[in-house]
């Protein structure tokens, strides 16, 4: 088990290294650079821009730039963000917790909800409850995320103005609120984006979970459980679910990177300044250090997600534990 784990860890390090290297090369090969975007003003001459490029080392050969970046990154120094005019580390330190909160809450809710819905459906397959859940989930599964975000926004922030439409806190007044007032303000701002993301993810998760359950239902050991006098409900919730959890664990591993990568469309619609928006804006601004840093963090999250999914799968299935 320990050797297996060490092997996976080594693999993860190699993947992160390759992904960031390729990203570094790609962004530098793309036309335009941070200076030409930042200083795209009528009064600025090419000579001035060239001066700035030299100041930031952007005129050096690509290999030299890469090695320098690699050395810095290894020391945890992620560079200077051209578009924010702040260290990349600080920019990410602001955005990452916001995304962790938004996506983390949505993940917890959607996995809990998705598994519960799938179990409820499986308890009476083909029944009315199963059919209606199936229809609603298929609808949610097939709508685009930005569309659902806009509809939710339209309904609950505009038609029925219950929740704030955008941002993470109320502008200006937030700073003058009491502690509990500020907490409630934060929670209210979370409701719409978290709901949107939860609905989207629940649809996918419960469909996966339901088909995984349907697959194990005809097993001989399910018949054994019923023959022991276990109720159908208990057989589904205990015997079938534990066996059918593996696909959901794999799925969770695939979703985990979103904790660091953010949810671009939902963040955009609700003006939630998280990692998704950050990376998108960085690309538009040709902000090389910020792009590479975002990709670095996302790729670490991908590798970590796969690793955690393997460990969780081993915990759920004793057969994996031994081999």
């Amino acid at each position: 088990m320990r050797r297996f784990f060490a092997g996976r860890l080594a693999q993860a390090v190699i993947v992160v290294f390759l992904v960031t290297t390729i990203t570094f090369l790609l962004v530098h090969l793309a036309p335009g650079d941070p200076i030409s975007v930042a200083l795209d003003k009528p009064g600025v001459t090419e000579a001035v821009r060239q001066q700035w490029r030299e100041a930031f080392g952007l005129d050096r050969p690509l290999g030299e730039q890469y090695l320098r970046w690699l050395g810095n990154a290894a020391r945890g120094e992620l560079g200077w963000s051209f578009s924010f005019r702040r260290p990349v580390r600080d920019v990410i330190a602001d955005a990452l917790p916001r995304t962790l909160l938004l996506v983390g809450l949505s993940m917890v809710f959607s996995f809990a909800l998705g598994i519960v819905v799938a179990v409820l459906q499986t308890e009476r397959p083909g029944g009315r409850r199963d059919r209606w859940f199936g229809r609603i989930l298929l609808l949610l599964y097939s709508v685009p995320d930005f569309w659902l975000a806009l509809v939710v926004l339209l309904l609950f922030a505009y038609r029925l103005p219950i929740f704030p439409p955008s941002g993470i806190v109320a502008p200006v007044v937030h700073d003058y609120m009491s502690f509990s007032g500020r907490l409630i303000d934060r929670l209210l701002h979370l409701v719409l984006p978290v709901t949107t993301l939860t609905l989207l993810a629940t649809a996918a998760i419960s469909r996966h979970q339901r088909s995984a359950l349907a697959e194990v239902m005809p097993s001989d050991w399910m018949r054994t459980a019923i023959a022991k006098g276990v109720s159908h409900r208990r057989a589904v919730r205990r015997h079938a679910l534990r066996n059918a959890l593996l696909p959901s664990i794999t799925l969770a591993g695939l979703y985990l990177p979103a904790l660091a990568a953010g949810a671009l469309f939902v963040e955009k619609v609700y003006s939630w300044p998280g990692m998704g928006l950050l990376a998108a804006n960085a690309i538009v601004a040709r902000d090389y250090p910020l792009i590479t840093a975002s990709v670095l963090i996302t790729s670490i999250a991908v590798a970590l997600g796969a690793l955690l999914a393997d460990v969780a799968a081993a915990a759920a299935d004793p057969r994996i534990r031994v081999s």
């Binding site: 005809p218 097993s219 001989d220 050991w221 018949r223 054994t224 459980a225 019923i226 023959a227 022991k228 006098g229 276990v230 109720s231 159908h232 208990r234 015997h239 534990r242 066996n243 759920a316 299935d317 004793p318 057969r319 031994v322």
Partner: protein, 343 residues
């Protein structure tokens, strides 16, 4: 037979498939007495497993037990019980030992947990008490180091061990009846005898009735007091074991006995019954065995034979009971003739 514990009357279990209604169990009646071990034999597809599943009402859609079927157990009408009352019977009063010990156990729970669950469900034991009960049961079925084994998972056990676990699970609540559906088919020959001996020994000690479903007449000879022979969804012969082996009446039973390997018997080849069981969606009119029977005549085409009483509790579903002289003139069965022309 002693006092009847389980009585089946006219049990019909049909499967509603796309290709038609499969009448897998088509009017089966028999009884199992208190403390008795009854064997049910027949080829695959004759309806013996479906009969077993029907008794515990474990038949899954598209299968259905038809109205009019009667199953009485300890004076209760099993057909009239609701699901909750049925749960109280399953694993508690009637337990089942399944065919495949490889797949009958849940791979993600320890065996202690799975045996203990029976006690938790039926005796309201908590987790700790149930585990102690499981260890006790493992000891009873002769598993060494039961405390340690209770914490292991099914994949860590050999096939024979798993079947012992399945038997332990069946006996937790000391049920009145154990239905064993081909309990040794999936095991090594050397292990088969051990498992059967264990099952026979424990049920004798506990006074449990056993319905032993098998296609192995040797198993029947060693373990059962009475035998029920099934063919094409029906009981075709029923007799005390010694009676059946000495005076098999139905040509199908004769065929089964002839197909048994014997020490000192003919060495070159085993006798077989030509042809196969007809499809359950389309049982032939008249006698269902007639195409494979060496004695069949016109009457077998037109008239479905009833279960004839042939004395001493011995019954047979064959017109030979009324026209015994026909047995003197065997002929190649129709199925064999057809096979010959095809070849």
């Amino acid at each position: 037979m002693t006092t009847p514990l389980l009585e089946l009357e006219n049990l019909h279990t049909y499967f509603y498939t796309d290709t038609g209604v499969a009448r897998a169990v088509d009017g089966v009646s028999f009884a199992v007495g208190v403390g008795e071990t009854v064997g049910v034999v027949g080829e695959s597809g004759c309806g013996k497993s479906v009969t077993a599943l029907s008794i515990l009402r474990l038949v899954r859609p598209p299968g259905r037990i038809e109205a009019g079927s009667v199953m009485r157990f300890e004076g209760k009408d099993l057909m009239a019980l609701d699901e909750e009352a049925m749960q109280h019977i399953r694993g508690n009063r009637i337990a089942m030992v399944f065919q495949e010990p490889m797949t009958a156990l849940n791979p993600v729970f320890t065996i202690g947990d799975q045996i203990g669950e029976v006690a938790r469900v039926h005796a309201g034991m908590n987790k700790r008490q149930a585990l102690a009960k499981a260890v006790e049961m493992l000891k009873l079925v002769g598993i060494p180091a039961p405390e340690q084994r209770a914490g292991e998972y099914p994949h860590q056990l050999s096939g024979g061990m798993r079947q012992r676990v399945v038997i332990a699970m069946a006996l937790v609540m000391n049920p009145a009846l154990v239905i064993a559906d081909e309990p040794t088919t999936a095991l090594d020959v050397t292990i088969q005898a051990q498992i059967l001996e264990l099952l026979a020994d424990l049920t004798r000690r506990l006074g449990t009735s056993v319905l032993l479903i098998t296609h192995d007449l040797g198993v029947v000879a060693e373990n059962c007091t009475r035998v029920i022979v099934m063919y094409a969804g029906e009981v075709v012969e029923e007799a005390a074991t010694s009676d059946l082996f000495a005076r098999a009446h139905h040509p199908y039973t004769e065929g089964l006995l002839g197909a048994m390997p014997r020490v000192g018997g003919e060495k070159d080849r085993l006798a077989t019954i030509p042809g196969t069981v007809p499809p359950p969606t389309n049982w032939p009119k008249g006698c269902r065995f007639r195409d494979r029977c060496p004695y069949s005549w016109e009457r077998c085409e037109s008239e479905h034979p009833p279960l004839y009483q042939i004395g001493g509790g011995h019954t047979s579903r064959c017109h030979l009971a009324e026209e015994p002289e026909r047995r003197q003139h065997p002929h190649p069965p129709l199925a064999a003739q057809r096979g010959a022309t095809a070849a």
